[in-house]
């Protein structure tokens, strides 16, 4: 990858469409939505199917499918009279309308809807084949379908009789994730079929002509780019409008935010729900216990999408579809008895279990546990796909085998009788690089379990806690967190919402994007940023400890003193040391892409233009070809691009290109006034229409200023309140001067104990010269340092055990009246910077129609004195200010009116002196 200029660490997972990186968002659905509903209404059971115009009594359906006797249905439902009682109203209902045979039932249905038998065969529970390609012997044999309906009925009745048997809609095992592959395949199918139809239509039209001049060639009539264009359009807009599948979804893709590596990575693990977010429901938003290890418990946005939008955990794998055929034949080999050989009574016999593969009833098995174990052994041996799950549900007396796509699963260490299969020598080999994760998986030391199969496993958190019954051991507890939450050191000491806030904020931190970040330009964001100097945090977090995070840092280690200082630190503001900023703390580089193009016209085209040096100063950064050269310093209003445009692009077809008149066209740089930026790169390329495109990357290095936003890794954001000279800053007995001062009021209500431990750990790490670790839940396994150990290290190096130092005031020179909690904390600079936001205006542009000030910062718009601002001014008593703002500033307009005719006019200033203005007078409109 690297010789080609690509970052070897880039995880991929996104599309590059029209120069933008677009990641498709995974969406979670509630299992595959079936179109068949069996519903109980007023004690009677009906079948609701879209193909039928109205609901159909279930017994009628059973009879239509050939199960004529009520006894058979009741028998299959189970011997327990409870079930029969529940079904009785339906049976009576069927009898009351006088339908007893299959023929009668079909006639009844046919009367309502045409082709009822066909509907029952092809649309009703279509996953169960009633003949056709797969089993020609079973032509129109509805027995399996009847069985399926009865199983459905029984499930429903179980739920009525016993609330516990209800399925949980929010259970992760009942959800499937839709990945971009599935979405794309739908889209492709639609586009392909549309194209075929179109081609067919065109070809038919041509073939229907009586005489043709040339030989017919279908390939000539294939539409060239319809599929490409369609795919591109959907990916770049994110709108999936597939009318063939009644799919109209928006926001399926997102621009990858390239602010930091983890931020980009985190945005690709995002899962959004399919239903609309405005619903006021708590169920789907709540943390699901089945989410453990699969979806991150922290990483979810605040506000309306809270709890609905989720993120994958570190080790989660999302399955893809797998062949069912081999699994079916394997099952039959291992003693699954075919349903058609079983009588109705046996269906629910307590001695045997139903075997269900992806919702398809395969048959029954007498020894389900043994069957499940055999299947699992086959999986560990690699004979069946790694991600096939075998789940024995004892309550429902079923064995579920799942091989479908979209399930989430995660790896676990297999344990035999409570002894982990991974031994010390395995770990040593892993460290030496002889083994890797895949070899562990191949040798059956590790396996993937999905949410359902986890229910059959007894998973120990640590090997030491395993008992005899334990079947699996967790790889590492911190893997329950996602990529963003994994960045927080000691997250298990923090108040939970703080971790959630940090997950949202970590995506805004500026940092290294990839190894090739200096090369990225044409395919990347409009704006990308990175810090000048980045550190690896002294206090490492979960993911940092496992990954090689060095080159993906997104912050710096700042020596923080937790104290009050100067009064410019209220409301979470931080005070920064000017000397630290001078030495490079918190600097960032903002890249901005501007493009320009040489247009082509019918006969002419834009030309290069060599700037005339003797003109004014604004063009001095231009090269001789009229393009700004790389490395030049560019300021506001500087010309960075100059070309020659034909004055009349359309006309003069005949005239020679050299004779067409040209005019010079310039593009000026619009940046912050008073700031200097640098032209980083100039790229020439041609676009779709073969025009020459020029892309300028403008680089702007910024040092922190008052109002820039910073954050530690614990959801503690704050703006820079003031910047203070180093000599005014407090200093310790060792001469250490903090880089920034944070107000202690940030701690009590936020309860971010993790931040305090990070400070302690980093301080100890700095003094003893090794990294201290802060993995989530890492203390028992040694992946996080204990506070006691940290304190011991601190004391050994002459610091106080609690991290508080004796500081002298830099202003008076006397000691401070308290010991100050001081040490390094990893700080991130967030993308919100004052320079991009500050805005003020005295006079400025107005809208043409209303003559009101324009709106927004980009248009140099006005600032509204709203209701509350007005209240303030009234309370303050500045009546003249209010009068001016409300009466004079906006509305009045001076016009010229003719005294004779009363019409409005305007003064032509050029002819002011000569024209007779006696009759015109000024008039103030307001």
């Amino acid at each position: 990858m690297s010789p080609l200029g690509e970052c070897p660490l880039d995880p991929g997972g996104y599309f590059v469409v029209k120069g933008n990186e677009k990641a498709s968002v995974m969406s979670s659905t509630e299992m595959t939505k079936s179109k068949t509903i069996i519903r109980m209404e007023k004690e009677k059971v009906y079948l609701v199917l879209n193909a039928f115009t109205s609901k159909v009594p279930i017994m009628l359906v059973m009879k239509a499918m050939g199960m004529e006797t009520d006894q058979e249905v009741v028998q299959m439902l189970g011997r327990d009279p409870q079930y029969a009682t529940l079904l009785l109203p339906s049976i009576e209902d069927c009898a009351s309308i006088g339908i007893y045979t299959q023929l009668q039932a079909l006639e009844f249905l046919e009367k309502k809807d045409e082709g009822a038998l066909g509907v029952l065969r092809d649309i009703f529970i279509p996953n169960i084949r009633v003949g056709g390609i797969k089993s020609p012997v079973r032509e129109n044999n509805f027995h399996l379908k009847c069985v399926y309906v009865v199983v459905m009925l029984r499930r429903m009745m179980d739920a009525i009789l016993n609330k516990d048997a209800m399925d949980d809609k929010d259970y992760i095992g009942n959800k499937r994730l839709e990945l971009s592959g599935q979405l794309l395949s739908l889209l492709f199918e639609d586009l392909f079929k549309s194209m075929n139809d179109q081609v067919k239509f065109n070809v038919d039209k041509i073939l229907s002509k009586p005489s043709r001049s040339s030989r017919f060639d279908v390939s000539q009539h294939l539409l060239k780019e319809s599929i490409t264009v369609g795919l591109e359009r959907s990916l770049s807009t994110g709108n999936w409008d597939v009318s063939r599948f009644k799919m109209h979804r928006k926001g399926m893709t997102q621009i990858v935010t390239r602010l930091s590596f983890i931020g980009a990575f985190g945005s690709m693990t995002k899962i959004s729900p399919q239903f609309e977010k405005s619903r006021k429901v708590s169920g789907p938003r709540a943390l699901q216990p089945s989410q453990w290890g699969m979806l991150c418990p922290c990483d979810t946005p605040e506000g309306e999408a809270c709890g609905l939008v989720k993120n994958l955990a570190l080790m989660t794998h999302v399955t893809t579809d797998e062949e069912e055929g081999p699994i079916i034949s394997l099952c039959t080999c291992f003693g699954v008895e075919d349903l058609s050989t079983l009588s109705g009574e046996e269906l629910h016999s307590p001695s045997s279990y139903l075997i269900i593969l992806n919702g398809l009833i395969l048959g029954k098995h007498r020894r389900p546990e043994r069957f499940a174990n055999v299947m699992r052994k086959l999986r560990r041996a690699g004979k069946v796909g790694d991600f096939v799950s075998i789940y024995v549900n004892e309550k429902q007396r079923c064995v579920y085998i799942a091989s479908d796509g979209g399930r989430v699963c995660r790896p676990l260490v297999i344990a035999d009788n409570g002894v982990s299969r991974i031994k010390d020598h395995h770990m040593r080999e892993l460290k030496d690089g002889v083994r890797n994760f895949d070899s562990f998986l191949r040798e059956g030391l590790i396996e993937y379990l999905d949410v359902n199969e986890e229910n059959n496993a007894l998973i120990a958190l640590y090997e030491g806690e395993a008992t005899h019954e334990t079947t699996h051991v967790e790889i590492e507890p911190f893997t329950i967190l996602g990529a963003c939450a994994g960045l927080i050191p000691f997250p298990h000491h923090n108040q939970s919402p703080r971790n959630t806030y940090q997950c949202a904020m970590g995506k805004q931190a500026m940092g290294n994007i990839a190894y090739n970040q200096s090369l990225r330009s044409t395919v990347s964001l409009n704006e990308a940023m990175s810090d000048g100097y980045l550190d690896l945090p002294f206090g490492l977090s979960s993911t940092a400890a496992t990954d090689d995070e060095n080159n993906r840092a997104a912050g710096q280690n700042a020596t923080v003193a937790v104290m009050s200082y100067s009064g410019y630190d209220i409301e979470d503001a931080i005070v920064m040391n000017k000397s630290s900023l001078d030495r490079g703390f918190g600097r960032c580089i903002v890249m901005k892409k501007i493009s320009a193009a040489y247009q082509k016209y019918d006969n002419t085209s834009d030309q290069f233009s060599s700037p005339c040096r003797s003109q004014h100063d604004q063009i001095q950064i231009l090269d001789n070809d009229g393009l700004a050269s790389p490395g030049e310093i560019i300021r506001h209003q500087d010309v960075y691009f100059q070309k020659e445009c034909p004055i009349d692009p359309k006309g003069s077809m005949k005239s020679h290109p050299s004779q067409t008149p040209y005019r010079t066209s310039k593009q000026t740089y619009k940046g912050a006034e008073g700031e200097t930026a640098v032209v980083d790169r100039v790229a020439l390329c041609s676009d779709k229409r073969n025009n020459l495109n020029v892309k300028f990357m403008i680089r702007h290095t910024r040092r922190p200023e008052v109002g820039d936003k910073f954050s530690s890794r614990h959801g503690q954001k704050g703006v820079c309140g003031t910047i203070v000279q180093q000599e005014d800053f407090p200093f310790s007995e060792r001469g250490i001067c903090p880089d920034l001062i944070m107000n202690p009021h940030g701690f009590p209500s936020r309860m971010t104990v993790g931040k305090m431990i990070e400070l302690l750990g980093s301080k100890a790490g700095v003094s003893c010269g090794r990294f201290h670790y802060g993995s989530a839940f890492g203390e028992p396994s040694g992946h996080a340092d204990k506070v006691e150990d940290i304190s011991e290290t601190l004391v050994k190096h002459g610091f106080c055990y609690n991290g508080k130092d004796f500081l002298y005031s830099g202003i008076t020179g006397m000691p401070l009246q308290a010991y100050i909690f001081m040490g390094p904390i990893y700080y991130q600079k967030l993308k919100h910077m004052v320079l991009d936001k500050m805005h003020a205006r005295g006079m400025g542009p107005r809208q043409l129609i209303t003559r009101q000030p324009t709106e927004g910062r980009s248009r140099n718009g006005g600032l509204r004195v709203g209701e509350m601002e007005r209240d303030c001014l009234i309370a303050y008593g500045t009546s003249n200010l209010i009068y001016e703002r409300l009466m004079i500033s906006s509305d009045p307009f001076e016009v010229q009116v003719c005294r004779k005719c009363g019409l409005l006019g305007y003064i032509n200033y050029k002819s002011k002196t000569r024209v007779n203005f006696k009759n015109i007078s000024r008039f103030l409109l307001s």
Binding site: S518, G532, K578, S579, D582, R583, G584, R587, I589, G631, V678, D680, R699, T701, Q725, Q726, E727, F731, E733, R734, G735, C737, L794, V795, K796, H797, G798, F799, C800, Y801, F806, Y808, G810, I811, T812, G813, M814, P815, L816, Q817, A818, Y819
Partner: protein, 369 residues
């Protein structure tokens, strides 16, 4: 404390504070929870009710003030200032950090830079490189001044990593070459003018700097060994760096010290005799070996090296120990450290700092009269 009737109190000697007040005036008490009595009592009439004059008399100051140099080499210096107020010691520290002028690179003219380090970052790094030159020999350059031999120093950096070598190469600060004749880059506006006269460059030196007696046999150098950039194969850096005089207040690169600070002299007092096991415990507790054990029949703890106390408060952390050991700081004894960046030796820095404070006073006096 038992109540003692007022008339039973012992007579106090004149012109002397009672011992506890004296202690509070002269010592910072570093208790386990927080330091107390950190403030100096400046007001001359603070103890007037006790008949004690708190005002400062210069002769007394002259008598009591002492300086003791502990360590001194080209870069670092540690010395004791005894018998001076914190506000003045602090003023020296502040001046050292922010108001002593040095020379530092302010302008970088980049002719070619193909390394991965951006020009701005490169310039910032160059700015922080300390230049070993006495700033007193140069003038400040104000806005309208043209750079000349009296107010600027020009360095050249031209470094190339060959494409064939296949190795990365590191550019160090000592690769900066001093140009005593000033800039070699010709102003762009001058390029078209007549070639006979000497073309105008970015600086207008009237004479070469190495003709000056100070630099004749003493070329201007920078602190060597500082990594400036790293070059990959085929990359090149060619630039000119112009250094001017400035103070640390404007930018930290002009600060003549890496840092400079003081600490008050630690005083460790054993309030009770600590013997045997407790003594061993105490010795073991201290990470910097402040305590020793002396054998006077019984083993007794003594304070051997109070100066090395870092105030980790480990000795008084456990309950009960605060009554046995007192950690204090002497308010008028400063252990002052100067870490010079190399422009001037630390002892010169300090005298210069004191001079600047004098100048400030003089300025105020002239302004007032």
């Amino acid at each position: 404390m038992p109540k003692i009737p007022l008339w039973d109190l012992p007579e106090l000697p004149k012109n002397q504070l009672p011992p506890h007040l004296y202690l509070q005036k002269t010592r910072v008490f570093c208790n386990n929870d927080a330091p107390t009595h950190t403030e100096n009592i400046h007001y001359s009439g603070a103890y007037a009710a006790l008949g004690v004059d708190n005002s400062l008399r210069l002769d007394e100051f002259r008598k009591n003030f002492k300086v003791k140099v502990i360590k001194l080499n080209e870069e670092d210096m540690e010395f004791d200032l005894i018998g001076i107020d914190a506000s003045i010691a602090n003023a020296f520290r502040r001046i050292l950090i922010s108001e002593l002028p040095t020379m530092a690179i302010e302008k970088v003219l980049v002719a070619n830079s193909s390394s991965v380090v951006q020009d701005e970052v490169l310039a910032q790094r160059l700015g922080l490189v300390p230049i070993k030159v006495d700033p007193r020999l140069f003038d400040y350059m104000s806005e309208n001044d043209v750079p000349n031999q009296k107010n600027s120093i020009v360095f050249k950096l031209h470094y190339k990593c060959d494409r064939g070598s296949g190795e990365r190469r590191t550019v160090y600060s000592h690769d900066l070459k001093w140009l005593p004749f000033g800039s070699e880059y010709v102003l762009p506006t001058e390029s078209s003018s007549d070639s006979t006269s000497k073309p105008k460059t970015y600086t207008s030196f009237t004479s070469s700097q190495d003709s000056l007696p100070e630099f004749a046999n003493n070329p201007i150098t920078v602190t060597p060994g500082i990594i400036i950039s790293k070059l990959g194969p085929g990359q090149e850096i060619e630039l000119e760096a112009h250094a001017v005089k400035g103070v640390g207040k404007t930018h930290a690169k002009w600060s003549p010290v890496a840092t400079s600070w003081y600490r008050m002299l630690p005083e460790v007092i054993l309030l009770q005799d600590i013997e045997d096991d407790d003594a061993h415990k105490l010795v073991k507790k201290c990470p910097v070996n402040v305590f020793d054990i002396e054998d006077v029949g019984r083993e007794r703890a003594t304070v051997a090296r109070p100066r090395s106390c870092t105030l980790c408060r480990e000795c008084i952390r456990e309950p009960g120990w605060e009554e046995k050991v007192a950690l204090r700081r002497v308010k008028d004894h400063f252990i002052f450290t100067i870490e010079s960046t190399g422009a001037l030796p630390p002892e010169v820095l300090f005298t210069e700092a004191v001079k600047i404070l004098e100048d400030k006073c003089e300025r105020v006096i002239t302004e007032l009269s």
